[in-house]
């Protein structure tokens, strides 16, 4: 089956639960997630018998070369042809069984460079470092005609369009999907779902034109007792003008999750009357508690060090009734370094004998633990303590969205649905200005940029840890999370472009690009967790002990064919569901049949069998 046709294999590429049937396709499946993004389109363009490249609309082949060798760290050198389009890198080798292929979007490349000089045989070697935890190495012959550009020079040009004054492929791509994903998030509708505005919270138009804060959304919710003028004064006291605004409100207790950036206290201990009043008003908006918790995501040492640079944290003198808690989460540089170490440990090969201590030395899971523990404490304060909380870090766009969105997932089951999760990302990450452009470096060749950091990946990892601990509480499956991460880098969709709502509007991103949610919501069945049960009122408190945290093998080690995930649970569950549906149908048929027969014969006997049928409630 596996060799028979690429139709099948491409279909199977779209299932995250890598079953054994597609194992046989070898490392080709390793590109599973990347290829599937354009599944709908590929079907149209692809001819299974030939190794023609399935192109997306507006995708153009830029260059191709035969006789390129890909040095696969798992199966050794593979010879084949390499094609570069304005969207992807495509390598294919057909003289092997099974067929071997690599297909990755150029957006996933972080660095392309020549390794060493040309060898005596005229071979040149190129290394490609990817953002998705792998490195590729190619060797090919230097073209005889020295004037002709090699395929790798073309690759460098299209891999980093921003550095070459070209636009990202997302702006070219014109696929039409049945649903428009840009309409997924409507701030007013989302706040309305939470019961806002109400007697304590109002919409403020102070940031309508992004004048108060250019990295905040236009729609802000603030306590009714605070005027826009006061907000303006608060904005000068909060880093980057990111004032405390409401993020979520508890439907019963009215305890609120509020997000902000650090206060500009400085060494002299500046104070701001309006800021103090605002926090008091936030506390007063919740009648259940006479306390306010301020969660500073940073380690206290770093928070104190920030005072030297004019920043700092709320002093207990100025903010009475408020308790400040540091959550000890490290900065973007520490996280970047941690992921780099993790890549060294897992790619390409895993050192078996020291696996655990190597894993520990990356600190990756400890960072995950700290973030989850922070979010847990926030959720606990809101749920169990019925207390409002203010969450901030330095600028309030990295650790803050990690914490608030994780706490929101714990507190509100809506965010555990597929659409709810999209709304959560649109709200907490995109509208509140997580600097995706800077952190990911879309199309930018400056791979050493110190602003890059895997903050969003870390958040998705935390969500994955929660889906592991609560396998039936999330509507989406692992493949959904991997798809989001793949398209975080792919630059196929406009969703994760730019640094803020303002920039996205300026660049007309919603008009000129396709949203990732258009793609996702047009084939939801791929992303549904068959185990999902919707319990509207359940709050999830995960266990943050490192004993219960796992390395996300099917993301970080997915390129290693030996570590291919085995998810038979979902497979079997789907089978069972189908079986049940089938049986149910048959019972109904028989019942109908019996009813018919009963009508003609005596009425006495027919009653009993129907009684024994237990009502089956559908929970999926």
């Amino acid at each position: 089956m596996e060799e028979s046709g690429s139709v099948d294999s491409v279909e199977s590429l779209c299932s995250s639960t890598t079953t054994r049937s597609d194992r046989s396709s070898g490392p080709r499946v390793s590109d599973t997630e990347l290829r599937s993004k354009a599944k709908a389109v590929e079907k149209v363009y692809k001819d299974p018998s030939k190794d023609e490249l399935p192109l997306l609309p507006e995708e153009l082949v830029q260059d191709s070369a035969k006789d390129v060798t890909y040095i696969c760290p798992f199966i050794g050198p593979v010879r084949g042809s390499l094609t570069v389009t304005n969207y992807r890198l495509f390598f294919r080798c057909t003289d092997r069984e099974p067929v071997f292929g690599l297909d990755l979007p150029l957006g996933g490349l972080s660095r392309v460079e020549k390794i060493g000089a040309a060898s005596s045989r005229g071979d040149v070697s190129y290394g490609v470092v990817c953002k998705d935890m792998r490195n590729l190495r190619f060797v090919h012959k230097e073209p005889e005609d020295s004037l002709k550009k090699s395929v790798f020079e073309v690759l460098m040009k299209f891999a980093f369009p921003v550095s070459n004054n070209m636009s990202l492929f997302a702006f070219e791509y014109k696929q039409v999907f049945p649903e428009n994903g840009w309409k997924v998030y409507d701030p007013l509708a989302e706040y309305k779902r939470q019961g806002l505005p109400n007697e304590s919270w109002r919409i403020s138009k102070v940031n309508d034109h992004y004048e108060l804060c250019d990295s905040y959304p236009a729609t802000l919710f603030v306590p009714v007792t605070i005027t826009d003028e006061e907000l303006r004064r608060v904005s000068s006291f909060r880093a980057k003008g990111r004032i405390p605004v409401l993020s979520w409100i508890h439907p019963e207790s009215q305890a609120a999750v509020v997000r902000a950036s650090q206060t500009m206290v400085g060494q002299n201990g500046r104070r701001c009357k309006e800021d103090e009043k605002l926090l008091q008003a936030i506390m007063d908006a919740n009648a259940q508690s006479h306390k306010l918790f301020i969660f500073d995501a940073r380690p206290s040492v770093n928070a104190a060090a920030n005072k030297m640079k004019g920043g700092g944290f709320e002093s207990e003198d100025a903010y009475q009734n408020a308790e400040l808690v540091f959550l000890d989460i490290h900065n973007i540089h520490v996280m970047r370094e941690s992921l780099r170490k993790l890549k060294d440990v897992v790619y390409p090969n895993i050192e078996e004998s020291h696996w655990l201590s190597n894993l520990e030395s990356t600190h990756w899971l400890e960072h995950i633990k700290l973030i989850l523990a922070g979010a847990l404490r926030i959720a606990d304060k809101v749920e169990s303590g019925k207390t409002s909380v203010v969450v901030h870090c330095s600028d309030g766009w990295d650790r803050t969205p990690q914490l608030t969105s994780l706490a929101l997932i714990m507190l509100d089951s809506h965010y555990r649905t597929i659409r709810g999760f999209q709304i959560l990302l649109e709200k907490e990450w995109l509208s509140f200005g997580h600097r995706f452009q800077q952190r990911v470096g879309h199309g930018d060749k400056n791979h050493t940029d110190a602003d890059r950091s895997p903050i969003f990946l870390q958040f998705i990892d935390c969500v994955w840890q929660m889906t592991r601990q609560f396998p039936a509480a999330f509507e989406f499956n692992e493949y959904f999370l991997i798809t989001i991460l793949d398209h975080l880098y792919s630059c196929l969709f406009g969703t994760f472009l730019c640094n803020s709502e303002q920039q996205r509007l300026k660049e007309e991103v919603p008009k000129r690009t396709v949203s990732l949610w258009s793609f996702v919501n047009s084939q939801l069945e791929e992303f549904v967790n068959p185990l999902y049960v919707h319990y509207p009122s359940h709050v999830l408190f995960p266990t943050v002990g490192i004993r219960h945290l796992q390395l996300w093998v099917s993301y970080y080690i997915r390129w290693n064919p030996r570590m291919r995930p085995q998810e038979p649970v979902h497979q079997r569950y789907k089978e069972l569901l189908a079986k049940r549906a089938e049986l149910q149908k048959r019972v109904e048929e028989l019942q109908r049949e019996a009813a018919n027969r009963m009508a003609s014969s005596s009425s006495e006997r027919a009653g009993s069998p129907t009684r024994s049928i237990t009502p089956v409630q559908t929970f999926v």
Binding site: L365, R377, D451, P471, L540, M563
Partner: protein
């Protein structure tokens, strides 16, 4: 409680508890009440008791607890709370022999006494002195109990302490084990058919040989243990093996299992080393030749004592490993959480598991790919040989992945195979610990890894394995109580109440109804098990075809059956062809061993998965895991309310029972099929009602979190968790000012 979350977040070790308050309460309302007594099992005798004793709740730092009476009987230490126990009745998974406040004496691993706030390991010497204020009991099933003795009268406290110490720690004779006093009647529920094969009769062995199409010889000469007391009563050897009595009861290649191709796995204790080296070599050669003769004159041997850790290594490693789970309070828990991975690695336990699985895969490769006979040897032939041979059979033979098959395998390789359970488990608390080693547990750990990686291939669940690992220490069953078949028989005969008549009958562990009712036994079955879909006849055919396809070339050349005497006539020419190799030598250096079996694994991985075919484990670092259910079940800090694999399992069981219900409805209606009963095990999966709230802790069905008002567990001491000192940590978040975009 959360206030310690603020700035400092420094949690201190719990200071020793002030007893004033509870004591006062106690005195205030002391009604002259009757002492509650435990429900004794048949044959159980109460030794001593003390009241009031404070049993600490493990959940928190507050050192709170429950008052009650502590008893010591010939079976267990038991604590009976003064308060009414409410939850006991609601349990769906209840062990009939012991409850959550019972510690069967054989479960006791270590006892610590707290003397003036210092914790000391209780040994014989300490008992004589004054009694401690608090005793801490570490159990072999990893529970931890803490009892405070300061409220009770001095002589009572002394008595109970000395009683417990005496009955749990002192070396005792086998006769004192509760099994010989237990007079519980075997339950009538135990059905005769579909029972575990015990391998205690020649018929069982003949049947097994028939099943695997083995061509070997059953030895009945040891029926009265004339050959050796260390050998099983009945066993099977290669048919080419000659005179039995020249072996001095050692160095028999004992047949374990035959591959469909004809090659087979044998295990042997090493032949006795005599003064002359030549003798040993000669003996060894005879052994190898006999094995090689079994099929195609090929054999590989592997001395497991050379290539695997010794039983002492296993013991030491497990000792370190289990400490991580014997948690007395949450401060300890969060402290140990910080260095979790490196401490795990330093114990080496996971690595030993990996090595065993790795060795088993190598043997599987020889049998499956090369179709050569394999002989594994070891000093005694009853420790690692049992681990490896059982693992090999589980990987190759789907029958052993069913519940009955697995139990039969344990009987065949371990119980009838004379694994020295009594010594290895140290049931009698002998002081010379040389022979103590959790070899059987190691085997269960390896099986768990397989179950975890390929769960649909196994009919039993991890809960079953966990329960089995506990039952090893259950002093009621005869299964794990003896060192050999001879030992079992002689002891049971001697202990018989009616001398000279029938030997004493102890229940076997496989009679699960002694411990669990049928509802609880449902948890032993894996709802994910993918049964063979078709009826057996339909499946067997393609199965065979597949096998033939897989046969390697040389075997087809030799397909014609050999005549007797064929070997003798042409010995010389055939000897040249004899492919006798040592497994390890043939494999070359250890590095290439790994590489070769890696290749074997990868080629297997590329074939479509057949849950009823060959099964191989992935052994890369992240794939070998800690058996969470067994090790974390009593630690409240890691319980996930409404989560964990329990959530999936209960969901699946619900769904399965719905499917079964519907099927039954169909069957009822389909009159033509009505006569045919469906005896697949999970028909019993009646809806296990968990209540609509359905939020079970992940430790289900073992520990129940009580009085837990749905609160999260906030880690303490996070500050120490990650003290990064490098320059990155102190760097500013924003390295540069705004970079313009696009």
């Amino acid at each position: 409680m959360l206030s310690l979350g603020s700035v400092g977040a420094k949690s201190t070790k719990p200071s020793f508890v002030s007893y004033v308050t509870p004591e006062e309460i106690k005195l205030e309302k002391e009604p002259p009440k009757k002492l509650k007594h435990p429900d004794l099992l048949p044959g159980e005798v109460e030794f001593c008791s003390a009241n009031p004793i404070l049993k600490y709740t493990q959940d928190d730092l507050s050192q709170r607890g429950v008052f009650g009476t502590l008893f010591c009987t010939n079976f267990r230490i038991t604590f009976i709370s003064d308060e009414k126990s409410q939850e006991e009745t609601t349990k769906t998974f209840k062990n009939k022999l012991y409850g959550e406040n019972d510690i069967p004496l054989m479960f006791v691993d270590h006892i610590y006494g707290v003397y003036d706030e210092k914790r000391k390991l209780i040994t014989g010497a300490l008992v004589k002195n004054k009694y401690p204020s608090k005793i801490i009991i570490h159990c072999k099933d990893l529970r931890v109990f803490q009892f405070c003795l300061t409220y009770t009268k001095e002589e009572d406290a002394k008595k109970i302490f000395q009683g417990i110490a005496h009955h749990c720690l002192e070396e005792k004779s086998l006769k004192c084990v509760f099994a010989f006093s237990y007079t519980g009647t075997p339950s009538p529920e135990m059905q005769r058919k579909r029972e575990t094969i015990l391998f205690d009769s020649p018929e069982d062995w003949t049947q097994e040989m028939k099943r695997t199409k083995a061509n070997c010889r059953l030895v009945t000469e040891n029926e009265n243990f004339e050959l050796s007391q260390r050998l099983p009563k009945y066993f099977v050897i290669p048919s080419a093996l000659g005179d039995l009595f020249s072996y001095q009861g050692k160095g028999f290649p004992i047949w374990c299992w035959s591959h469909y191709s004809g090659c087979a796995l044998f295990k042997a204790s090493l032949p006795p080393v005599t003064q002359e080296d030549g003798d040993f070599q000669k003996h060894f050669d005879i052994m190898i030749n006999a094995v090689a003769h079994n099929y195609l004159y090929s054999a590989k041997t592997e001395d497991l004592s050379e290539s695997l850790p010794t039983i002492q290594d296993i013991q030491q490693s497990y000792n370190k490993f289990k400490q991580f789970f014997l948690i007395e309070n949450s401060t300890d828990f969060w402290l140990s959480d910080m260095k979790w991975f490196s401490s795990l690695e330093s114990s080496g336990w996971l690595d030993i598991i990996r090595q065993c699985l790795q060795k088993a895969v190598e043997v599987v490769e020889c049998l499956e790919k090369d179709n050569t006979n394999v002989l594994i040897t070891e000093e005694e032939g009853t420790d690692l040989c049992c681990v490896i041979s059982s693992l090999v059979q589980i990987m190759l033979d789907p029958y052993y992945r069913t519940l009955m098959g697995f139990q039969s395998l344990v009987q065949k390789e371990w119980v009838a195979g004379c694994h020295a359970f009594l010594d290895r488990c140290n049931h009698l608390h002998q002081k010379d610990k040389e022979c103590y080693s959790p070899v059987f547990l190691l085997f269960l750990e390896c099986v768990w890894q397989l179950v975890q990686q390929h769960s649909p291939a196994f009919q039993f669940s991890e809960t079953y394995l966990t329960v089995l690992s506990d039952s090893v220490h259950m002093p009621v069953f005869s299964t794990f109580l003896f060192n050999s078949a001879h030992h079992r028989e002689s002891v049971l005969k001697a202990e018989s109440p009616l001398a000279q008549s029938s030997p004493l009958s102890c229940p076997t562990v496989w009679d699960w109804s002694v411990q669990f009712d049928s509802k609880a036994q449902n948890y032993f079955f894996n709802p994910l098990y993918s049964e063979k879909v078709k009826h057996e006849k339909a499946v067997r055919k393609p199965h065979k075809l597949k096998h033939q396809r897989q046969l390697s070339l040389p075997s087809t050349a030799f397909k014609t059956p050999f005549k007797k005497g064929f070997f003798k006539d042409e010995t010389d020419s055939l000897k040249k062809m004899l492919r006798v190799k040592r497994l390890s030598r043939w494999m070359g250096s250890p590095d290439s061993t790994a590489a070769i079996s890696r290749e074997f694994y990868e080629s297997w991985q590329q074939r479509p998965l057949d849950y009823h075919g060959l099964l191989l484990p992935c052994l890369d670092g992240p794939a070998v895991r800690v058996w969470m259910q067994r090790y974390l079940r009593w630690i409240p800090e890691v319980h996930i309310l409404g989560g964990g694999s329990v959530a999936v399992m209960t969901k699946l069981m619900e769904l399965l029972s719905q499917v079964q219900d519907l099927k039954r409805v169909l069957e009822q209606r389909d009159s033509s099929q009505a006569a045919k009963p469906d005896h697949r095990p999970y028909i019993q999966h009646r809806l296990l009602s968990f209540g609509s709230s359905g939020r079970l802790p992940s430790s289900f069905p073992f520990a129940y979190s009580r009085n837990r008002s749905f609160k999260p567990i906030i880690p303490t001491g996070l500050m120490q968790c990650l003290m990064l000192t490098d320059s990155l940590a102190s760097q500013e978040d924003e390295a540069s000012s705004f970079v313009s975009l696009v």
